[in-house]
């Protein structure tokens, strides 16, 4: 009886779906990431109204229309500070930020680094397709050296950003890489990222079937191999540096550390300042501080 009731109340994938139909290209890696995210939310039984997902701008971020949660579709590169503001005032929400490589490692790179060292309890999923998809095929900060794109017809001259190494040196406490085509593996990384109390980066290799003919599903498949969780920074650094014929995926590094707000000595653990009564604030005591 109680089991039945529980089964009935149990959230399913459809609880996270909206009436809208995704407009991504057929075969886009984003579908796998969306599915992995939904599965992770189902498995963790996070109520849609208790999840706040903040997107930046990019093909990936059009997902805001296809995931049934509280959503904020923010500006290009700015998902992380918006997510931080919400998490600061309401730590009860499960806060997830989502963006692409251009969004998070290009225009929003500063916020990414500071979010790592800030260590708020936010999960950050980056759809890393090594190309600008929404603007139709320009080089991105993670495009390989020599990649020929519409904006770099002779090949990219700069060396790519290494998000895993960057997160590690910026003191992030959960650092993982998944691939869009292995939904079950990615779901596990996202679940563990949400459960991790701290800033969790999940960089996802996401083939763009329309604009990136180099880093394809086959290209990814030929190179990736799975690694297990590390708690040694040095070992994690070694794996982080690996990129080319072999690309490690899985959990690179995890560390239990106080989150930012744990170090507030004026607020209780996970205290929601939005629940404070602000109808009768008395400032008369503060006025006495003045001459």
């Amino acid at each position: 009886m109680s089991n039945q009731a529980q089964t009935k109340n149990r959230l399913t994938i459809s609880d996270y779906s909206t009436p809208m139909i995704p407009t991504w290209c057929p075969g886009c890696g984003n579908f796998g990431i969306l599915m992995a995210l939904k599965q992770a939310l189902v498995e963790l039984q996070i109520q849609p109204h208790q999840a706040l997902v903040v997107w930046g701008i990019g093909c990936n971020s059009n997902m805001c229309n296809w995931l049934n949660v509280y959503g904020i579709h923010a500006l290009h590169g700015r998902a992380l500070p918006v997510a931080a503001g919400a998490k600061f005032v309401n730590p009860k929400l499960t806060v997830i930020a989502i963006g692409g490589d251009g969004d998070g490692y290009g225009i929003g790179l500063g916020h990414f680094i500071h979010s790592c060292r800030r260590n708020l309890d936010i999960t950050y999923i980056v759809h890393n397709n090594q190309i600008y998809g929404l603007t139709a095929g320009q080089a991105s900060p993670t495009s390989d050296h020599g990649a020929k794109t519409k904006s770099t017809p002779c090949g990219v001259i700069e060396r790519p950003i290494n998000p895993i190494a960057l997160a590690l040196s910026s003191q992030a406490t959960y650092i993982a890489r998944g691939i869009a085509s292995d939904v079950a593996h990615l779901k596990g990384l996202i679940m563990a990222g949400i459960q991790h109390r701290g800033f969790a980066l999940i960089d996802v290799l996401q083939p763009c079937v329309t604009w990136n003919k180099q880093n394809t599903y086959e290209w990814v498949k030929e190179r990736v191999y799975k690694i297990e969780a590390q708690n040694s920074r040095l070992k994690a650094q070694k794996y982080a540096e690996e990129w080319g014929d072999k690309i490690p995926v899985g959990l690179f590094y995890q560390e239990e550390r106080k989150i930012y707000s744990d170090e507030f000595d004026h607020l209780k653990k996970d205290e929601c300042v939005i629940e404070h009564d602000i109808s009768q604030i008395d400032i008369s005591g503060t006025l006495e501080e003045f001459v």
């Binding site: 909206t18 809208m20 109520q47 849609p48 109204h49 208790q50 706040l52 903040v54 701008i57 059009n62 805001c64 229309n65 049934n68 949660v69 509280y70 959503g71 904020i72 579709h73 923010a74 500006l75 700015r78 500070p81 918006v82 997510a83 931080a84 503001g85 919400a86 998490k87 600061f88 005032v89 309401n90 009860k92 929400l93 500063g110 916020h111 500071h114 507030f264 000595d265 004026h266 607020l267 300042v273 939005i274 404070h276 602000i278 109808s279 009768q280 604030i281 400032i283 008369s284 005591g285 503060t286 006025l287 003045f290 001459v291």
Partner: protein, 370 residues
């Protein structure tokens, strides 16, 4: 008691129930950050110094969407960095408050000096058009009261509210009565949620332009705060009719704000039938009052509720003027031109000072003539 304009802004925010303040240090707005940081414990608020102004504005937006009274402050250059996000805040109809404490620009300009050169910048900041409210206090008491009011207006109309101050007001000391700093009625329009568990339309088209707001965590009231043009639920939507509906809904708030009588009339100081009226706004009030009480037989018309302008009401006041001089601390006479644009009223003379120094009584008095 003795306090600065910046401290008055901080006190007004605390009184209004500020819960989250994020800012990047920038002279001459920084002392607001210092004051609030030193009162973080007492008022159980969160004060965050951010990596840049863009982060500050976006954190404030996130905190606002989540249901906190939130604010940032900066000077002109920092505000320039916030501008795209300001438009984002307006697009998703959140309730943010931002104080801009001006200094001479452009670029780094003169960081420790004063100017009123950002008026036109604030009235037009961010791409395309959206409703906003701009308040420009004339002294410390007004800075306190208008900051308090800014939070109420932001909640009531779900628009960005900008407080335009400057170095002169922000860092000068004022003597005020404590009683003036304790006034203020709290109003809250945050949780007007109807039709529980029905299809909740966060951006429902209404006559006033304002729609019922829910906050994340509330069951049955999911929505997307979408920087893309969106429909009533927040879903991205580029249909032409929807665009017109949502754009008009947002812009209609400007009429509602004026109709609701919340934009106070400009204030008169001095004799009724003076031959010369000094028109001023924001921090210009102090020097004009000094001239009036010590030197010349003039009166003053001071504007603190800058945008949107209650045009009919302002025109009625302007009609009482015999000869006018508009006193400002910028190069072109931005307020005089703004007044002309909105009301057709042309000031007889502009007195513009843009050397970074405040108007001194003696030099102003020497220039008050025809």
């Amino acid at each position: 008691m003795l306090l600065t304009g910046n401290e008055a802004i901080a006190l007004g925010a605390l009184k209004a129930g500020l819960k989250f303040y994020a800012a990047y240090p920038m002279t001459p707005a920084t002392s607001i950050l210092h004051f609030l940081a030193s009162h973080e414990h007492q008022y159980k608020i969160i004060v965050k110094q951010t990596e840049d102004e863009i982060a500050a504005m976006n954190m404030v937006i996130g905190a606002s969407v989540a249901g906190a009274r939130a604010m940032t402050a900066t000077s002109g250059g920092g505000f320039a960095l916030m501008v795209e996000s300001l438009g984002f805040g307006a697009m998703i109809e959140t309730t943010l408050v931002c104080a801009v404490v001006s200094r001479p620009g452009p670029a780094t300009g003169m960081p420790t000096w004063s100017a009123q050169g950002d008026l036109r910048f604030l009235t037009h900041a961010a791409p395309d058009e959206f409703p906003r409210i701009i308040l420009a206090p004339g002294d410390a008491v007004e800075a306190y009261q208008l900051t308090f009011k800014a939070f109420n207006l932001a909640d009531q109309y779900q628009v960005p509210v900008l407080i335009l101050s400057d170095k002169l007001l922000g860092e000068s000391f004022f003597t005020v009565e404590k009683s003036q700093m304790l006034e203020g009625d709290y109003q809250n329009s945050k949780f007007k949620i109807q039709n529980f568990n029905q299809n909740y339309e966060r951006y429902k088209v209404t006559e006033s332009g304002v729609s019922a707001r829910s906050i994340p965590g509330t069951r049955g009231h999911l929505f997307i705060a979408n920087s893309d043009e969106h429909d009533e639920f927040g879903y991205s939507e580029e249909d032409s009719e929807n665009r017109v509906r949502q754009m008009s809904k947002r812009m209609r708030k400007l009429e509602t704000i004026v109709k609701d009588d919340v934009m106070d009339a400009p204030k008169w100081y001095g004799p009724k039938n003076a031959d010369i009226t000094l028109i001023c706004w924001g921090s210009g009030k102090g020097a004009c009052l000094e001239v009036m009480s010590n030197v010349k037989l003039v009166n003053i018309l001071h504007f603190s509720h800058i945008y949107p302008l209650d045009i009919d009401r302002v025109k009625r006041e302007l009609a009482k003027i015999k000869k006018s001089i508009c006193v400002e601390a910028n190069y072109s006479g931005q307020f005089a031109d703004y007044l002309y644009e909105k009301t057709g009223f042309k000031v007889d003379r502009k007195l513009c000072k843009y050397d970074g120094r405040p108007w001194f009584m003696e030099e102003l008095a020497a220039n008050v003539n025809f």
